[in-house]
Chain length 312, copies 2
């Protein structure tokens, strides 16, 4: 059995993987010549890490691919029969993403980003800053997306005695599901947080009307996908201070070009699609793969299989 | 009955106070000439807000002073008999201070302060930042100070599944009380948070030995009083990256002078003694005073009386 390892690993992570894999041959992408990679992939039974979507149309040997991401939108266009299993990192990023969302909100509310500017100029403003700070305590937070990130974020917010409302498709893990309920909740929230994936249903869901109905004191946070929001309208509202600020991990274009207006919007933190990251991220992804590999080798069903046709 | 209002209020706050005070005359400090202020104070029965300590030695009329602070160290040197009651803002700042402490920690762990620099230069580093980020999740946090701030902070940390240890004098609200327990806990914590007041017992308690025993990955947070830590040693450790960073709301000198080395320490956030601040801070302090005034006028005992001799 041959495993093609497409995820980029450092020497320690490779050593960890090697020491835990039995009855299979590991081939690391960065240890073979670029022009041979596709051939090696096509001879492999298992793939660990994301590869080009068109490779998946060519394979007739692959039995299972473990993605190194939650999102798999680029694979939805794979044509033809899909004889292999695809698993993704569902739930994996709940803790880091929720922590970055909270870090951004607290940075804005507690004025940390202003004080970081003061630090550069060695300017102590002290007591005059105090009336410009805000508390997260007891704020009304609307979370779009009922998945693992939303649930973990809700747990963090409970410690701040926040009033949270979760909008999602399924009643089991959301408080509201209907469009008119969403409209109403957006108009009264203090913080709107989008954790929506990039699917047909979510594109542009946070449209002009919804953005314009936000309170002028409201914050907008996006740690889902940039496509969920009408970005030009968001920029217009931020520039004109019609809303109080934003924390954006995701945008239409990534990386954000140097001349993009979002860099200059007031009270806007750009977290560069790092919300899922942390020191042990890659090693923990290796551990997820190893857990599934053990299941695969003993004929059990794998964790977090995706349905390419449904999109989740 | 005359009330001398030493706390600085804006017109709305004054109007709120006036509309809620009955059977008493309010005199606002900023509405009388500087040279008459002391005389007016000496003719007052009640004082709302902090005044010069030597005025308290002169008064024989004052029955009660409501401080606008938790700290009252400057009044401990008041000589002679103290015939009046002094109340302070015990517990008042628990929520904002705990939120600023957490905001600072998450700013460092989630790299927000780095990304704010990137934003100035419009530099998207994205995925290469991810291994440099950390999680608060499950970290070991040592909190010095068992008061209201420490208890609220502990509640917030519980949502992050942190392992918290509270050091304090009284066993009722702390996990450890002995010196050797403190030494041991400092050596193994990920985050050391001081919320200690400025008393004889706390000066220099975080000494060289204790600072040097911190892990190199540890963060130091001070939202208590600057005097608790050996500041020159802290600066040395930060500059030499012997510890990973600091969040300092308080310092030996405040405001921090322009040429102070703390401004330039790496991974060090200076929050300028604003941790207790928030938009409704002053109005909420007025409400605390009004609650105590009602008790005073109906002969009940007041909330949060201080013991000037014991220091808390």
């Amino acid at each position: 059995m041959q495993i093609y390892v497409a995820i980029k690993l450092n020497e320690n992570q490779k050593a960890y993987l090697k020491s835990h894999v039995i009855r299979a041959r590991l081939i690391f992408k960065d240890e073979i010549e670029k022009e041979h990679r596709c051939d090696v992939f096509l001879q492999s039974d298992i793939c660990f890490g994301n590869v080009r979507p068109d490779w998946l149309e060519m394979t007739d040997r692959l039995q299972w691919i473990q993605l190194q991401s939650v999102g798999f939108g680029e694979y939805q266009k794979v044509k033809g029969r899909v004889p292999f299993i695809m698993t993704h990192l569902k739930n994996f990023f709940a803790v880091p993403v929720a922590e970055t969302a909270l870090a951004g909100i607290l940075t804005l509310y507690r004025g940390i980003y202003i004080m970081e500017e003061d630090r550069k100029s060695k300017n102590w403003r002290g007591v005059s800053l105090r009336p410009h700070l805000h508390l997260l305590h007891k704020k009304d937070v609307l979370i779009l997306g009922g998945g693992a990130i939303g649930q973990h974020f809700k747990k963090l917010l409970a410690a701040f005695d926040c009033d949270t409302t979760v909008y999602g498709r399924r009643a089991t893990n959301s408080d509201i599901q209907a469009d008119h309920e969403l409209d109403e909740a957006i108009g009264k929230c203090d913080i709107l947080v989008s954790i929506l994936p990039g699917t047909k249903e979510t594109i542009g869901i946070i449209n002009r009307d919804r953005l314009e109905s936000l309170k002028s004191s409201a914050l907008f946070v996006n740690v889902g996908r940039g496509s969920a929001v009408d970005e030009p309208v968001l920029i217009e509202l931020l520039k004109n201070k019609k809303i109080a600020g934003a924390v954006l991990d995701v945008t239409y274009e990534e990386p954000l070009p140097v001349d993009h207006p979002l860099w200059d919007c007031p009270n806007t933190l750009i977290t560069q699609h790092t919300a899922g990251g942390y020191d042990d991220e890659i090693l923990d992804i290796v551990k997820v793969f190893l857990g599934n590999l053990e299941r695969f080798q003993s004929g059990e069903s794998l964790e977090h299989e995706v349905d390419l046709k449904r999109g989740y």
